[in-house]
Structures are given as C-alpha cells and as structure tokens.
C-alpha cells in the first residue's frame, strides 16, 4: 500500500511541478475552442431545442480535456522514465503490477479531472451552470479518465520513442475524441457517419457526460455506461496482463 501511495504521489508531483504546462495550458486551449466554435457556429447549429449551442459545447469540451489530459499524463510519464532509464527504479522495487497500474491511472485521472474542472469553471461565465444529473457527470468523468489513463499506460509501455507516442496520439486519440460529438450531435450527421460514430467508445463517454448536464442525449446514459464500463474492463485487463508479463519493460 505504501508502495502504491508513493508511486501515486510521485506521479502527482510530476505533473503538479509543471502545472502551468500540464493543467493551465490545456484549460486555455479549451477556452479558445469555445470562443471560436461558439462564435462561428452559435447562430447556425441548434442541437437540442432549448439548449443554446455554446451551452451544448461546454460539456463536450470539458470531457475532451479530461480524456486528452488523462491520456497525456500516463503516456508521457512512462515514456519519459523509459527514455531516461529511471523506470528501472520502479522495476527493481517490490511494487505489484496491479499497484503500478492503479497509481498511474489514478494520477492520470486526477490530472484529467483537474483540467476538466478548470475548463468548466472558466466557461461558467459564458453559459452558467446546468447540472441536471450531477452523479452521471461524475461517473462518466471518472470512468472516461480511467479508460484514457489506462490507454496512456498501454501507449507508454508500447512506444520506444516520443514520435511513436505522438503517432498514437495523432492517429488514435485525437480522431477518437474529435469524431465523438464534442462539437455536434451525431443526430446531425448523415446515417453512415452516425453508424460509424456509434462504434467509437469516446462518443459514449461524451454523450453520457452530456446527459448529466441536460438530461438529454443521443443514446440512453445506461447504454453509454455499459459501453464505457466494458471498455474499461477490457483495457484494464489487457494492461494488467502486459504489465504482469513485463511486456517491453522486462526483457
């Protein structure tokens, strides 16, 4: 338990020490998205009848920030310690592979949630707060952050170099988050692309998260919870198996 707590504390310290980069900067990025998209699209897009576009956009941006930063935290921390070689200190220690996974994911989730909270707070001035079902908000934020934190562990273990990690980020994480209904409702897409979106797990994270704000969504939050929950279990199982075998970490 002390091993887990130490690793968790170390991982939190790591991003907190450079909090300007890891927490403040993503908040500013999200705010820019909000300014640009709401300005350009507010008069053209109406997703739900009584929800203004800017209000609709906020939960999507918050969740996107949570997910991207959770992924960034575990993946960049792992690849850095691999590249510098300091990963050896964790590998020498009697820390179970479960504790290892849990610490990385918990720290990643914490950073994701901090950034999400920051985005939410700065956007309050634009839209005011609609919190129809706060428990759903919390459930999807936590679960989404844990899924992406776990995916970050996989990416960090797999990648040998920073550009491989960048590829993972650009060709998997970015498309999945952008094509998930952050900026629009999938109902506004042609049927084919609607179908495609429904194969994207991130769609369910955002849709369920948004339900917590407006009590309206493209699919039922229970369905979203089931999809995201299954994703989490599968990815966690895969990650634990990779760590147990020492894939790419122990030769």
């Amino acid at each position: 338990m002390i091993g887990f707590l130490t690793l968790l504390r170390k991982e939190i310290l790591r991003f907190w020490k450079v909090g300007f980069q890891t927490v403040a900067a993503p908040v500013v990025t999200a705010l820019l998205y909000l300014l640009i998209f709401s300005h350009v699209l507010a008069d053209h897009v109406r997703v739900y009848d009584d929800v203004p576009y800017t209000a609709f956009l906020v939960p999507g941006l918050v969740m996107m920030s949570v997910l991207q930063n959770a992924f960034a935290n575990s993946s960049s921390s792992l690849i850095q310690s691999k590249v510098t070689g300091s990963v050896v200190f964790m590998l020498l220690a009697p820390i179970s592979y479960r504790a290892f996974w849990a610490a990385y994911v918990a720290a990643a989730a914490l950073r994701g949630l901090l950034v999400g909270l920051g985005v939410f707070v700065v956007t309050l001035g634009f839209t005011g707060a609609h919190l129809a079902a706060p428990l759903w908000i919390l459930v999807f934020a936590l679960l989404g952050a844990a899924v992406l934190g776990t995916l970050g562990v996989i990416a960090g273990i797999w990648a040998d170099k920073f550009d491989q990690l960048a590829a993972f980020q650009n060709f998997l994480i970015m498309p999945l988050t952008f094509l998930s209904g952050v900026f629009y409702s999938t109902h506004s897409l042609p049927p084919f692309w609607q179908q495609v979106s429904h194969w994207n797990p991130v769609f369910y994270m955002i849709d369920g998260f948004r339900y917590g704000f407006f009590a309206m969504s493209d699919v039922s939050p229970w369905q979203s919870l089931a999809v995201v929950g299954v994703c989490f279990i599968l990815l966690a199982a895969l990650t634990l198996e990779l760590l147990r075998r020492g894939y790419k970490l122990r030769m």
Binding site: I2, G3, R9, K10, S81, F89, L92, P94, R250, M251
Partner: protein
Amino acid sequence: MVPALRVVGVAKRFGVTQALAGIDLEVAQGDFFGLLGPNGAGKTTLISALAGLVRADAGHLEVMGHDVQADYRQARLKLGVVPQELVFDPFFSVRQTLRIQSGYYGIRHNDDWIDEILANLDLTGKAEDNMRSLSGGMKRRVLVAQALVHKPPVIVLDEPTAGVDVELRQGLWRFIRRLNGEGHTIVLTTHYLEEAEANCSRIAMMKAGRVVALDTTAKLLARFGGGTTSLEDAFMRVMKEAA
C-alpha cells in the same frame, strides 16, 4: 542457512547473442563476492536476471531463498541493485529521490537512515540539489544510496566506482566493507581488478556467458603461482585458457 543468491542453469539469449549460456552459482550469506569478466561477458545480464529486469529463458534464480519470478516481491525486497547505467529522474532532488525510493519499498519516515547514507557517501551537501545538477560521479553515488534505502540483506553493485574519484572511491569501499561487516552480502562487478582483489573473498570469472573460474580469491591467486601474482595476472590467464 539459505544462500544469499542461488543461480541454477540460467540461460538468456538476445537475438543471436547468447548472453548467458548456463550459469550455476551460489553466493553464501555474508560473502563479499566479485563477478569479473570482460565487456560483454554477461555480468549485467546475470544481475538483471536476479533483479527481475531480464527474464531468463531457462533455469531459475533465488534471492535469500525467494524465487525471483514466483515470489518476486520478497526477492526484490531482499535485494539492492546499483545499476551500471547512470540513470536518474530529472524531476527530483537527491533527498526526494531517496524518499520516493524508500516508499517503493514500503518504508515511510526513513530520513535518519537516508542522512546516514548521504553522510557516508559524502552527499550531505547535495541533499537538496536537483539530480540534474550533479556531476557524473555524484549521480553514481546517489545510485548507490538508492540501492541501500531499504537496508537490503543482499547488495549488488554493477561497476559502482566507474567515474568516481579516488578519494570517494576509498570512502565508498569503507562504507561497503562496513555494511559487509554488519552482515550484508555484497556482490560486485568491476573492471578495476585491484578493487576486487582488495575487497572480495570469493570471485567468479565469466566469459561469453559462462562461469570459467569460481573460487576464493586466495585460491585463485595461489593457482596461478601465488606470491607476487596479482588478480590481474590470474584473470588474464583464466581468460586465455577459456578461449
């Protein structure tokens, strides 16, 4: 008494390189043991296998009776390893590094022992400095410190004195000998054979993944003439015969 280290039939191949070609070795508790051999002999690979950083293709390894795979947490708890590569986490100060390392081994509030290690390695003045700002020799000494935070019964040092200046080398050996005197088993690799001759009671010589000589230091020296023979002479003879 269980041996500090037990290595039975261990083999490891990297691609076409047979890094370990069947190693059998036992190190008794309390020994000061030298692991010698030319570059590429397999010393680091063997140490990595003991530490669980490398998985052996065949055979098995124990630390204080604990199998390094099946019982990895106990095995790692009993082992302190100073890696050969000069690695560090640039995010932290020396003290933070050592506190974190203590926590990994389940130890809180370790500052008394940390201060003692720092004093013995002449790092007290650097305790609050960032790892990045240390010289190479200082970083190497922090690596030694990190291996000692949990007072492991078995301490393995992979070239601990590479790049460390003469005076500090003396201090380091005094400290390691003291730990040995207090009952810690020491395993050491070095290319400075006079260090091994002065400190080690038993020595294994490796070449191309095999143990080619294994005996007490005195007997190894005697076998090659005794008297004025140095360990370096003995080493050269063993390597030639093994060719």
